[in-house]
């Protein structure tokens, strides 16, 4: 029997160790390396940064990358703009997604199932192609401008493409399903009799909404907002395709800093600061998801 016990222990250890080691090497270690390179100086060499330990074995740490990020106005503006745009897209998603989720949760089972399918469907179609679809709509000679001109509403095409507005629309569009699904999950669990009871007892419809529906839906609101805000902050495709040359967002700056300017330490610093901005939202989301998993 002792032998059996041994193999079982071995099997368990194996089942834990393999994914554990994988994650240590391909998830945790990369972050240590980013941190290390962010503390180096850029040099023209291969690889283009100074080693952490120099030839004499002295520790060489440089905070120049971070100093540059903090003092350079362009970076401050870029971070600020990324936060503002991601927050605006989150708000728009909430404004549109909440009544949608509410409407879906209140439908009869058959309609509900179809409506949910239609929310999930765009999620399975390539993200890139969904952003691309907006290029065809927002173009100077695109569908929207053509329609407006055809109706005679405008004489000259409106410049939609390569503006912040285009990026905002693109983000709202791409991340709307992430808002609707968690909202739907909480609203569907909600006991509708509570709202009826409140109204029977004299609450107005808005009163019942703010006193009952909203507090009960809060976990879904928080999860939805975080699921939109976090990826929108690091967005690369949308600023590239819809945003044009001047409208820089931090995800695109990071990519260009690395591949175009070949400044690896600065790109790493940009990533670390982005991560610091997102630490609180990410921890909140993880806590919410852990609690949600226990509830389910």
């Amino acid at each position: 029997m002792a032998g059996t016990k041994h193999t079982d222990q071995g099997w368990r250890r194996f089942a834990v160790a393999v994914p554990y080691v994988w994650l240590l090497v391909f998830f945790l270690l990369p972050f240590v390396i980013i941190l290390k390179i962010s503390l180096a100086d850029p040099v023209i060499a291969q690889p283009p940064f100074t080693p952490l330990l120099d030839d004499q074995g002295n520790l060489s740490v440089s905070l120049d990358g971070f100093k540059f990020l903090l003092t350079d106005k362009l970076y401050a503006i870029t971070y600020f703009k990324s936060v503002m745009l991601a927050a605006s897209a989150t708000m728009l998603c909430l404004l549109l997604g909440f009544p949608m989720a509410y409407g879906i949760a209140r439908s009869d089972p058959m309609t509900r199932s179809i409506l949910l399918l239609l929310i999930v469907l765009p999620f399975w179609i390539s993200f890139l192609l969904r952003v691309y679809a907006w290029m065809g709509l927002l173009n100077n000679y695109g569908v929207i401008n053509n329609m407006l001109m055809w109706f005679g509403a405008i004489d000259q095409p409106i410049q939609f493409m390569y503006t912040d507005f285009a990026m905002l629309i693109g983000m709202t569009y791409s991340y709307l399903p992430f808002m609707v699904l968690p909202l739907y999950a909480t609203l569907e669990r909600m006991d509708l009799d509570l709202v009826d009871a409140a109204q029977d007892l004299g609450a107005t419809r808005t009163g019942a909404f703010w006193d009952i529906t909203w507090p009960l839906a809060k976990p879904g609101v928080i999860a939805g907002c975080l699921l939109v805000f976090i990826p929108a902050m690091g967005e690369y495709v949308i600023p590239y395709l819809l945003g044009g040359g001047e409208s820089l967002l931090i995800g695109r700056v990071l990519f260009d800093e690395f591949f175009v300017n070949r400044d690896w330490p600065l790109a790493s610093s940009v990533a670390i600061v982005l991560l610091l901005i997102l630490v609180v939202p990410i921890m909140l989301l993880q806590r919410y998801q852990a609690r949600d998993a226990e509830d389910a």
């Binding site: 834990v16 409407g103 409506l115 890139l128 192609l129 709509l137 695109g142 902050m233 990071l254 998993a293």
Partner: protein, 265 residues
């Protein structure tokens, strides 16, 4: 529906129009004869034909499918192990770090994941000479890493919802724990593993940002090819490609939806 107010109906119609008008317009313009993507020049299937003769597209598609299938398989194996470990193995040393690392790739912005993995591959290459060339292997590893998190979550929720009594009964009857896993637990969570695999496959096919970071000069996935073309503007052959993808996804999802509804009327 209890009280479907006019407001809700309006918002729902607007929301779904917002979600679907861009997709419909892409499909519509894919049948455009004109090579100017936004000027209607009559109906034609021309761009579909050109798509199938475009070797770059076919090659990129082939690479993407290979990467997606390989990484989804690895992700399913690793993710299932991780899910089992977290739900069925009780406490073990380093469990907190493990569960933290499992869910983190789900919420990490793609640019950060991509950059960190690229820097890892570059450092490894200097230290041990591997990977000699970035491409299929590095993209597959990157996709496996983030997709295994999704699989682990799917498997975990299935295991939590599942009754442990069957496994306990087998154990009481003298079945060895390892055989319990292979004869009872795995068959029971098999549907979850399948949906995890499909999710991982789709996520891999869809990924542009991480692949762009960790790929090398020789390897171009389908999203990378599409991106390099659409950076310059709207093109009719990409409209055709997008329409095909929309068609395949819609049919696939509709079929699985119908299958699920049939099973649970």
């Amino acid at each position: 529906m209890r009280r479907r107010s006019r407001f809700l109906l309006t918002v729902l119609s607007f929301g779904y129009a917002f979600l679907y008008i861009p997709l419909i317009s892409v499909v519509f313009y894919s049948f455009n004869k004109s090579s100017l993507a936004t000027v209607w020049g009559g109906f034609s299937m021309r761009w579909y034909g050109e798509l199938f003769r475009n070797e770059q597209v076919l090659e990129a598609l082939g690479l993407s499918l290979q990467i997606a299938a390989t990484s989804a398989t690895f992700a399913t194996i690793l993710g299932t192990m991780a899910g089992l470990a977290l739900v069925r193995f009780g406490r073990f040393r380093g469990r907190t770090l493990f569960s933290g690392m499992i869910v983190s790739p789900l919420v990490m912005p793609e640019v950060i994941t991509g950059l960190s993995l690229l820097l890892l591959f570059v450092s490894l290459q200097q230290l041990i000479g591997w990977p000699g060339q970035r491409g299929f292997s590095t993209i597959t590893i990157a996709h496996t890493t983030f997709a295994m998190a999704y699989v682990a979550v799917v498997v975990q929720s299935r295991l939590t919802a599942m009754d442990e009594s069957l496994e306990e009964a087998a154990m009481d009857l003298g079945c060895k724990p390892m055989r319990v896993v292979f004869d009872i637990t795995l068959p029971l969570i098999f549907p979850a593993m399948i949906s995890g695999w499909l999710l991982a496959f789709t996520l891999s096919l869809d990924d542009l940002v991480i692949a762009s970071f960790v790929s090398g000069p020789g390897a171009t996935t389908l999203p990378m090819y599409i991106f390099s073309k659409v950076k310059l503007g709207v093109t009719p052959d990409i409209n055709a490609l997008a329409s095909l993808i929309i068609l395949i996804v819609s049919v696939g999802l509709l079929l699985s939806w119908a299958a699920i509804r049939k099973r649970r009327p």
